[in-house]
Assembly symmetry: C2
Homo-oligomer: 251 residues x 2
DNA sequence: CAGTGGTCTAGACCACCAA
DNA sequence: TGGTGGTCTAGACCACTGG
């Protein structure tokens, strides 16, 4: 059963997306929405808070909320799974494992995965494609405790996230992402079919379970021009952080 | 006067940042916090919602909240103003205007700034440095209505955002950011002191007033290795969006 | 000035987690 | 099964916006 506020948020989001409210237009007042949906003002406020967090609407005390944009953020699953994202966006995704081996965690990997250096991890190199073109090179390190489930997967498994969810009951809940630009190395260049030294968009990320247990630490490199990340922020909701240098020190 | 929930959020954030709660540790229950701060449960929930939006804590129904990380997102001002960000992070920022001229808006610029093509805009090229090293090339287009205030600024004005706030009463409230990687062009390479074709981290952004009126559309290019963006997300709060190609079509 | 969103309360019921 | 967070209500007061 979906919560009342979630259904109200969905209805308003649909109206915005379909153009019922233009960008810059005002939303109805909270009292008006409360009457229309027959709920209390608190529930209406929960609903519009969702839209505000998505960056779709903004608000100022004393004035009605305004529409800031018409496109919604993707679901968490779509952001963490290349295959699920591509499918939802209407693209044809492919992928295959190029190399896979067990080894001991390096110092950085251990810090990211909350392990001790030398503890077993599974290192996987995957090449992923969009519309048949190679666009993404993933170098992923899985914590040892999930490694057996990963090794059972097909080499050309389309969605690793989905397979681990269905097969091993693995649920991912939180992620931290670090985005910067790097020059393609020799291996990057060969596999992504670009020249050595050409620009790549790098996204390093760690993903954890609902309990906060790290599952994977990945270095993903996109061919320039293939993918863009976007974020909408405000005085109230400000998820994006800019940092000097390569990466913050490990915890 | 700061709101109660904001002060409670600040106190909890401090405790997390100082290490009073380790990463992975549990937060006190809502009832416990309500008693400790002598507020209702609703107020406590508002406070922890702030921390959740900052990516510091996560929650699951039935279990206590857990600490996910120790570092807080930057303020909106710090994200939009290179100078304010650098100062807050303890770095020495510099910058100067290399070129500045009025012209008519292109089709893309007009769409981004909610103008008609050909309406007057002010185009500015700025080079910004960190610790004396050039790291960022900004190509900014200001809407015509704010151009006079921008033209009154010094060429080596440290913080444009701050100067426009103090001088013209301009308040920025919302932003949308598009992040990808590009190869340095001839001008980029010369000004940032890198080789042509070397990787740059590009952040294009549009910033608007509290009323939703677009102020500036900017193409910012960082030298590779100088800056990293980071984002923490979850099933509930998911601000990051991945898109195919260069940039979504204009609204 | 009336309308609107921002804050806060006190209580209720439920779904879920862990022991 | 008891404690926890998730949802919802009904009402109150305040700060701010806008005509």
């Amino acid at each position: 059963m979906t919560a009342r506020y979630a259904r109200i948020a969905a209805e308003l989001r649909d109206a915005i997306t379909r153009g019922g409210y233009a960008v810059g237009a005002q939303l109805p007042s909270e009292a008006e929405l409360a009457a229309r949906f027959a709920v209390s003002r608190g529930t209406v406020r929960q609903a519009v808070a969702v839209l505000a967090a998505e960056g779709l609407v903004g608000s100022r005390q004393g004035a009605r909320r305004i529409v800031l944009g018409r496109e919604r953020s993707q679901s968490f699953a779509e952001l963490h799974s290349f295959a699920q994202w591509a499918r939802a966006a209407g693209h044809r995704a492919g992928g295959r494992v190029l190399a896979q081996r067990r080894r001991g965690a390096s110092a950085v990997e251990a810090a990211r995965l909350a392990l001790r250096p030398g503890e077993p991890v599974l290192s996987v190199l995957r090449l992923r494609s969009l519309e048949g073109e190679p666009v993404l090179l993933e170098r992923t390190v899985y914590a040892g405790w999930i490694a057996p489930a990963v090794e059972r997967l097909d080499a050309d498994c389309e969605s690793v996230t989905r397979a681990l969810h269905d097969g091993a009951g693995l649920v991912l809940a939180y992620g931290e992402h670090f985005i910067d630009a790097v020059a393609a190395g020799t291996e990057d260049a060969r596999l992504l079919a670009v020249r050595r030294g050409s620009p790549l968009l790098r996204q390093r990320r760690v993903t954890t379970t609902p309990e906060g247990r790290p599952v994977e630490w990945s270095d993903d490199r996109y061919r320039a021009g293939s993918v863009t990340f976007s974020i909408r922020n405000s005085v109230d909701a400000n998820p994006l952080v800019r940092q000097v240098g390569d990466l913050r020190p490990a915890r």
